[in-house]
Each structure stands twice: as C-alpha cells, then as structure tokens.
Symmetry: C3
Subunit: 472 residues, 3 copies
Amino acid sequence: MPTRATTLVHEDQLFPADPTTRGIARRLYAEVRDLPLVCPHGHTQAAWFAGNEPFPDPAKLFVQPDHYIYRMLYSQGISMEDLEIGAAQLKDPRRVWRLFAENYHLFRGTPTRMWLDYAFHELFGLEERLSATTADLYFDVISESLRSPEFLPRALYERFHVEVLATTDSPLDSLADHQAIRDSGWKARIIPTFRPDLVVDPDFPGFHENVARLGQLTGENTASWDGYLRALARRRQHFKSLGGTATDHGHPSAQTANLSRAEAQSLFEEVVTGPAGRAEASRRELFRAQMLTEMARMSLEDGLVMQIHPGSWRNHNRQLFERFGRDVGADIPTPTDYVRGLHPLLDRFGNEKNLTIILFTVDETAYGRELAPLAGHYPCLRLGPPWWFYDSPEGMLRFREYVTETAGFYNTVGFNDDTRAFLSIPARHDVARRIDCVWLARLVAEHRLDEDEAVEVARDLAYNLVRKAYKL
Amino acid sequence: MPTRATTLVHEDQLFPADPTTRGIARRLYAEVRDLPLVCPHGHTQAAWFAGNEPFPDPAKLFVQPDHYIYRMLYSQGISMEDLEIGAAQLKDPRRVWRLFAENYHLFRGTPTRMWLDYAFHELFGLEERLSATTADLYFDVISESLRSPEFLPRALYERFHVEVLATTDSPLDSLADHQAIRDSGWKARIIPTFRPDLVVDPDFPGFHENVARLGQLTGENTASWDGYLRALARRRQHFKSLGGTATDHGHPSAQTANLSRAEAQSLFEEVVTGPAGRAEASRRELFRAQMLTEMARMSLEDGLVMQIHPGSWRNHNRQLFERFGRDVGADIPTPTDYVRGLHPLLDRFGNEKNLTIILFTVDETAYGRELAPLAGHYPCLRLGPPWWFYDSPEGMLRFREYVTETAGFYNTVGFNDDTRAFLSIPARHDVARRIDCVWLARLVAEHRLDEDEAVEVARDLAYNLVRKAYKL
Amino acid sequence: MPTRATTLVHEDQLFPADPTTRGIARRLYAEVRDLPLVCPHGHTQAAWFAGNEPFPDPAKLFVQPDHYIYRMLYSQGISMEDLEIGAAQLKDPRRVWRLFAENYHLFRGTPTRMWLDYAFHELFGLEERLSATTADLYFDVISESLRSPEFLPRALYERFHVEVLATTDSPLDSLADHQAIRDSGWKARIIPTFRPDLVVDPDFPGFHENVARLGQLTGENTASWDGYLRALARRRQHFKSLGGTATDHGHPSAQTANLSRAEAQSLFEEVVTGPAGRAEASRRELFRAQMLTEMARMSLEDGLVMQIHPGSWRNHNRQLFERFGRDVGADIPTPTDYVRGLHPLLDRFGNEKNLTIILFTVDETAYGRELAPLAGHYPCLRLGPPWWFYDSPEGMLRFREYVTETAGFYNTVGFNDDTRAFLSIPARHDVARRIDCVWLARLVAEHRLDEDEAVEVARDLAYNLVRKAYKL
C-alpha cells in the first residue's frame, strides 16, 4: 500500500473511478479548465488591490480570515485565543501555523482540505502533505513566496486569470478603494456589490445609526419613507457608476411582502423612526420582507441583478459573538420556506422578463421541492450555485441532481466562489468545473446527452451563464 | 470526440457505465421491457378513444398540453401567447413548433427530453436531434404520420401494448365517453377514476355550484350532510359500474380529521350550506380533512382504492391563473406533514387490512422520514411512485434509495405515468423499468440480492404490484 | 443467469462494483474487520449475561424481540396474534417461524435481510436462502445450535469479540443484574446507561409514580425541585459506580430551555407536584426542555457523556399501543429542529470543552443543514451514527455524505448497534465497517485522500473514536 500520494493534487481529482466516465470527464474538463475566472460574488477586499501590499504571513493569510478553518479547530477544543482570531497583528504566527498543521487531519474529507492543498501545490509548489512534521517547511516556503512580487495581490489576480471580481460592500462605504483601483490605471475589472442589510434590517447592530448615516451620505431625509427609499436608490446609482451590476441581500428568512404605499410608510415609521427597540419581532420581519420587494422594484428600474441569500441564523453562539463579533463560524442554517415567503414579491414582479433575481439557499431540501419548480417557471428567477456549507463536491453534485431535472441547466447561473480567502479562488473554481464535468460525464455515459452537447453545457456553466446572468 | 449520437435512444440508456452493473441491468431489463403497460393513474381523455379522431399537428400534440414543456420555455422569457397556450385552435402550429425546437437545448438533462426523444425515435423514426435546423423536418414527418391510421388513438393504444388505462374524472362527469368506448365493442380496458376535489374542497372555484349539481345528478339533497354523503357514494358506484377501481384526492395538505357525526354535520352546515365565503380558512381545511376520512370509510365499504396526492400549492402565479386558468405549470410543491396529518384517519382505519390507501408526495424529505416508516407499519398504506417533478431518473432512484430500506419493495405499487401527453406513455414506463433495473442491478452487484430474486422483483415492480394494489 | 448465490454473505458484500474502488475498499476493510466490537449504546439485557441461560428457540430469538421484522410483516396484513407478539411463551414457535420464512421476500433490499443472513451464515452455518422451503431446516439447525454451550450468551459475547457492551437502563432499576455479572467474576465489560425518560418526561405513562419511586430509592424528597435533582444525581452516581459512562435521553423534540432557578422550581411544582394531568402540553414540553439542560449541567459535574435521541412520535398507532404496549414498531420520525431547540442549552454550556453531548436524529434533513454545522462549531457537540431506520447501508452513506464536508470525521463518534437483537450485533458492526470503507475508498479513488490516511480514518471510525467519545 502506498504511504502517500506523490503529489497533493492529482490530475484526475474528483473524477469517478469508472474508466468510461472518467474518460469523458477528462475530455470535458480539458475544454473548460483554462477559461477565465468570472467571480460575481465574493468577499475579497478592494483595499488589497488598491494598496497592493504583500500578504503578511501564512497564518494571517490562511487561518485568520477563514472561518471554515477555525470553526473546525474550535469544534475540537482549540481556543480562539490560541488561534489569535480577531487580533489585528499576530503575536506568534508560526505558533498559530503549527497548531493548524498539527490538526490538519481534522479536515480530511472536507472541501477546505482540497482548496488548501490546491493552493499549497499550485501556488507554492509544495508536494508533501501538511502535518506537524512539515509545518515549519510550509511556513518558511510560504513566507518567502509572499515577499516576492509575484505574490502581490495584483500579480495574483492576473496569474489567476480573473476576468471580473465583485466585492461585497456596505451602502455606507464610500467605495474609495474601488475608485483608487480605477484611478491607478491598472487594467482589472474589480466591481462593488450593493449589500444593504445594515440599513434595511432593523435587527442589525447599529441599524438606526446606519440609517441616519445613509441620510448624511446622500443628503436625503432618511427619517421619511420616501427619503429613505430615495437615499437607497442614490447609493445604488453610486455602485453602478463604479461598475456594480448586482445587489445582495442576506436575510434571516425568504419572507417578502407587498404592502400598499400607506401600509409601508406606516410600518417604516413604526420600525425605523419610532422608539428604538419598540417594534415587535414580527413587524421587524415584515419590514425586511417589504424591503426585498422594494429592492426588486428598484432593480427593475435600475437594472441591478438581485441576489437573495436567506436562511442563516447569524451569531448562534452568543458568547463568541460578544467576544469576537460577527462572522466567526457560528452562523447556522435553518429551514427556509421559499414558496410562501417569495409569493408576495412574485405576485407583483414574478412575470417580469427584465428582472433577474438569483436565489441561494442553505436549506438543501428546497432545491427540488421549491427552488427548481419556482425557477423552472417564473421568468425573473434564477438559481445561484450551492452556497456556504454546500460549496463542496457532494453539495455541487446534489445541486445538479435535484435541480436539473426540473429547472434544467439554463435557469442556473454558473459558479461563484463567495470567499474571503483570496488564494482559494482558483481552487474553488477548479472544483466547480470538475464537478460539473463529472455530472455531465455521467449523463453522457448513460446516453442521456450527446458529448457535443455536454461540451457546450460545460462551457456555459463555467463561463457563459454567469456573464449573462450578472450582466457582465 | 463524436459530434452527435447515431441514434436518439441508445439501448443502454440510463444504465450505469460500470460494465458489471450494466451487464446485470441489461439482463434484468430484458425480462421486463416487453411486459404490457398497466396505467392506473393518468390524465388522458376518454374522448380521444371514444371519437378516435386523428391528433391535429405536432404543436397541438406535444407542446400545448404539456406543462412540463411550456413552463420551461416560459421560465426563459418566452410568452404564453407566442406558444398559443390556451388557444382552442392554433393559428400557426409550425411557428410554435419552431419556437420549441429552437429552445430544445433548455431541456438538456431533464426527463422531458428523454420522453420526447423516445417518442420522436420510436414512433416517428426520427434520428437527428431536434433543433432549429431540424424543426421543419420534424414538423413534416410528424404531421404526415398523424394522418395515417396507425396514429389514431386506438391504434396507438394497441401499439403501446396497454393492458389497462385509467383516466381521471370529475364526479359531475356523466362518463358518456367511457360508456361510448364500451358500447363500441372495442376490446380495450379504459376505466374512470373518481376525483372529487371540486365537490369536497371549499376553495375549489365553483364549489357551491358543483355541490348543487351533484345533488341534481343523483337526486339527493346535497344541502344536507347525509344527502351529500349519499350523493358521493352513488357517484362512486357509477364509476365502479364503468370499471373504476380507484379514487384520487388532490389536497393542499395531508391533513385528515376524525370528527364525531355531530361535529361533521355542523362543520358541513358552516362550510357548505352557510353563506359562501364566510367560513374561515382553518374550517375549510378541516372540512377537506374530514372528507378524506369519509372517503376512506366509503372505500372500506365499496372497495375502491384511495389515492392521496397532497402538498401542491396550486396556481402559485396569480396573474397567469387569471389569464390562462388552472394547470399551466405554476403549481409548486410545499413541505408536507404526513405523520401528524394522517394520524386522525389512521387512528380510525389504519389497521384495516381491507383498505388500500396509496400515498404520493411532492416533498421528497418525507420518503425516508415519514412515508416509508408509515407504510412499513400500517397495513392499509402503500406508497405511490415518484410523482410530478420527481418522475425522473434521479427522482426514481431517490425513491428506491429512501424507501426500500424501511418499507421494502412490497409496500410500493409499481409505476404510473400520470400524464396528459399520451405519446409519452411508453417512454415513461420505459424509463421507470430501466431505473428499477438499475437499482436492482446495484443490489446484485454489491451482493445484497441474488439475481434470481432481482428478476422476480423487477417483474413485480413493472407489472404485478400495480395490478394487485389497484385491484386490476 | 445464476439462480442463486453460492453463499449467503459474499466477501465483497456492499463494495462498489467498480474494480478500482472495490480494490481499495477491500484493503481498507482488511485493516478493520477484526477489530474488537465497542458497543456503547444498545438494548440487550444484562439479565441474559447474569443468568447465562440458553436462548429458547428461533422465533423467540429472532422474530419476537425485533420490531424491524414484525412491523414489516404487520404492514403486509399479518396479524400480531399470528406472530405471537407479546406472548411470554410462544405456543407454536415453529408456526411463527414458518410464517416469517414464507414472507422473507418482503425484506429484500432492507438491512434486516443483511443482518439476518449474516447471522444465519456466520453463526449457524446455513447456506441456502430462508424461504418456505427451507423454513424447517432453519428452525431445526438453529434450535439445535441454541442448545449447545457455544450459544450461551456469555460464549456468544466472547465469540463476537465484544470489548465493551452498554445496556440502557431505567434510573429505577437496581442494576442487580449488572452487579451479578461483576460478582460472578466473569471478565467482560457490560455497563449500564442512565436513561431517565420515565422520571423526566411528564407524558411518560406512570410518570408521577415513577418520581415517587425515585424518592424512595434514594431517600430524597422528590416532591421538591432540589430533592428531585439530588435524587437524579445520586442515581447517576450509582450508574457510574457500576461502570456507566453515559446517559441517554429520548425526547419527542430537541427543545431545551434555560430557565432561572425560580422559574424551574415553579415549573416543577406545576408539572410534577401539581394535580396530575393539569399542566398544559406546552408546559410539559418546557419541563422536558429544562431537564435536558439540567442533565447537561450534571454531566459537566459528574463527567457522564450525554446522548440525545429526539424526534420520534412514539406509539403512533393507538390501537396497537392499547393492546401490545410500547416499542411495537409504531414509532414514526418527525421533523426535528435542532438549531432553535438546542439554542438555550448551547447558550449556557455550548462552549464547554469538558462536556460531551452526542446528537442523534431521525430527520435526515438535519444532517447537512443543522447537525454538521452545529457539531462543526460547538466544542461540546458530537454526532452519533445513523439511528434507527437509517442504520442501513444507504443511511450510513448519506450520513457520511452530508456530514463529512462540514464536520469532518472527527466530530463523529463511530458506530453503535442500538439493538435488542443480540445476534445481529456482529452483522451490524460489519455493515458499518464495510460502508465506512466504501466511503473512504471513493475518496481515495477520486484522489481526495491518500490511502494511508484512509486506513487511519477507517480504524478511527471502527474503534478509536467511539472509545474516546464515550470515555471507554
């Protein structure tokens, strides 16, 4: 028995063992592996590309920003303090890195392991597995690389063959970093995405202050319903002016509403300008619901593509939230009802051909039962790729298995990497391309699709559909 | 790389690529491929066989009645008007056909594509893929065929090797077409199925008028609870007299009730004879719930097999409903609770060996969690095959995967095609037979079942179980 | 075509047909097949090992205690009376056995069939399939074997290579049988598990009497909140003193609560010492919820591992319950909400590294959506293996598929057999080991894991993780 693979990333990775299917998958993959990366949704920082400073060290680069990594370590009893999560500067990056390396076996069978191995191998030329034994080797090799010009953010962007990269930004952000990139004359397409949660969700920490700031920023009176809506429309225009083509909405549920103007105004007064904390939970939920419909209306007007990411219980671990804040790996999916939730919005805009709403889910039971039937009927709806926990080989196969039979391939919108971990971007796209080829290869091997059709679909899934759906 | 398959339907279609498993699947399939078709549940029209008129043209035959087809086209921005949906006579069938053909790539990976290719190839001898290029060829070949005697409804019925075909009919239907078929002396078994939704669901459009008509038709006073029940029992007898063996119930939920006689009577007076539109939604739901239990009671008395199809949100797209009516591809599945919902009915009749209730679902999460455990225990329960959106290769495999481990094969009832598209019937049965052979071949290949047993099961699933369950 | 397999259990059973993957699976399985059995959760009786009496006959041994078997027979119209379910002594065991044998085809494709064939073949040397024809042969061979010393409970325990076997016991049990085993000097590790449902669930039949008996047994005043809690803590100590390392909690839901001391005391007075049957359902549910949190607190104090088995609707078939009592195959899974339900408990103890809570589910939709995200974050949580209906090859593969990507392998705790059927124990572990090897073989074949890592994981899943999680 071999004691270890000779390389970290095998050329046939993820392809089924059956030789016929593997052969087809290889041929399909050869057609898409080198297509440019289109990244319409993610969480990289425009500041990295504006400043183009070197990434500091392996721990700061890989461990600290990636809650996929430290949530797993934390689940096995390793403390946030030992990982220096939340520290602006790491006191002892090598110690953090060793702790991670010693526990690398925890990631066996996870997509995180694949993304990391891909980056270690493809970017840093590492060939042995990460472990306690190789921890220092890794630390030194990566550290040295990071000091070279080829590892500056802009150089990596180009090396990754990125065609367009969207960030996710607050409406209160000036987008100065985006402006700086443009002003620098660097020929890259990095664009903002309008993510208004903090000014449309009354449960967002600092909501009332945020709404006030929105008013200052736009010169609108956000203490009135009309002024508030105008302020949002203005900020959307600002995002558009810097290349933005989409909005994104992360709500606790998929609930929408279709209130009359008078009802909406009265709700606004109760929830937003009324005494803070007085409105009941159901009224705050109704406000979020109405705001999704308002955003859809604005999208119909200004052409921005609308993304809805519902269903996550944010900050489930209260103690951790109080000590370390948001986005520390303690968000947990919940059952999500799309059929009832989206009905008010669809009742108003569902048949609009000039509106694009891309739906995501962290409740996979909705794929076949709700999302594919909805997207396979309503002209405005499209399905986003597997999201968050399901951005995995199995998750991607399930997505195709449950969605294709009812909604086909052409009501989906290709892949997005949705990541804070810049170096994982090529790996994530590579996994997605491989898995789509695996799915298509199975259809071809079982004589359900001809191979020339499969090639066309593979290219559409890797490149064409995302550009079309996001108007890129 | 081949540019296209040499035939539309490959003899190994749907069989796994692994040679061992494929070999077993082929042998099993050879044992069932030519068994007669038993069709206990569907939506063909008795009038077709009574009149035996030629089908008009390809668009009218394939596109217009098949909401699987036009919901997909509609989802991609093609209008119902352009497809002439709802028109009694098509103004320009060739134009509709071309529109469909140009967009045939949308169906890649869907079962609709497989059913269509099967019909194009097996019935019309077409060998090239449907596309913009071949649209006219297809239109002409199919049009010409439809004018020949071999393509009349009765000839196709015989060619398809149908042993029995059940239609789905309103209790207000005189069943004159069924009578006419019998009177014609044609030796075919076409039987009605009693589908009383429009007289038991207070939310059905025209419900009150329907109940009144039920009274006129039977000479019973349907303004009284007893008269209403007697009228339903009489119509069930009429269906039986024309060969019917089953009823079918399409409810929004699986809720049942077990009210006392007095409670039921009072509920009837409130919901049915009280002022129209006054009863609250929860009371109308309770009335539907109680009626399922009343229907089970009647089934125990008259021997009709009871089918329950719950969980679909009908006419989710209000605008389309207002313009085009029911059944236009805008029904969407919802989560369905069987364990709580069926409890009242099962509490009363669950242990009856002489009652057969066949359960269907559009919520696949219920397969393993609720339906298999229920059917693997209660003697009156059996599980219907994958329904509607899940009548697909993947859907059928999931059904076997989730159900067999707990309920075995013998608490299921074989396949039904559930279709309005008469020409898709052989294709649908063929897919079902292939997939069951795939599932069984895997069990044999993994040494979990002997091949002689698998042959027996394959024949039971294709032919024997459905005849037994539906008392055919 | 072969008419039947030459042996009941093939050496490659459950391994995929693809030769590459099968080869890897074989190599992995060779590394784990002979490891000792660790059985941390089950329903065998300590009395069997204390008394070491021969098992009576095949029907009493296989059919009567196994609700997997007779629920299937019952679902097909065979009466409980004909199977002599509930009889202390069987009147005609051979007749019961024949009835079972004639219907053995009902179990095709189920895990029960695999477990039985394994026992028939491995323990009794039977080679032909069980059927009407071989019923008497089986009965005679098994009956004769059961009279030999090698088939006494203690001899089987040793033959099975069991390292530790946990029973499940009431807090009102004196554990005299466990004491007797210890006193006998027999070198086996059979340990009790503390299962307090009958004294913490107000809906348990006899609840109030049980609480009173708990008081008598411990000398505590269980009519007071403090005395009741002290009595429970004392019984936990008693279980520990006889080797127990775990508790088990079978609740209708996963709801927990985190009440103040005063609220809890007042709830106790209302539900436990108040007039029987007066407290509302929601208050009884709240009491169960609070008791889970109290048990977690005690686990933190005394170190017992806490198992939570929620979500089963017990005794769904009222008629059968009234005639035959509990545990007769009529418990049905229900949708279970872990994210909201566990929040109060996790809010209090979720970050404790010295607490271990093992979660089980009969709602598989929770695997990927709730359980893996929770266990992949909270240090106190681990995931138990597939439970009850899902303790099947497909169920085990789904568990790995849905859980590994988010929680990895090391937040799971290996296998437990959870059975009343002592003779099925080796078969169940064998199936689990094979399936884990199948899952790992696929990862290796697809170049996602090196084979040396897979060997390590296979051994961890079969042996190391369960010992660590249960502190054995």
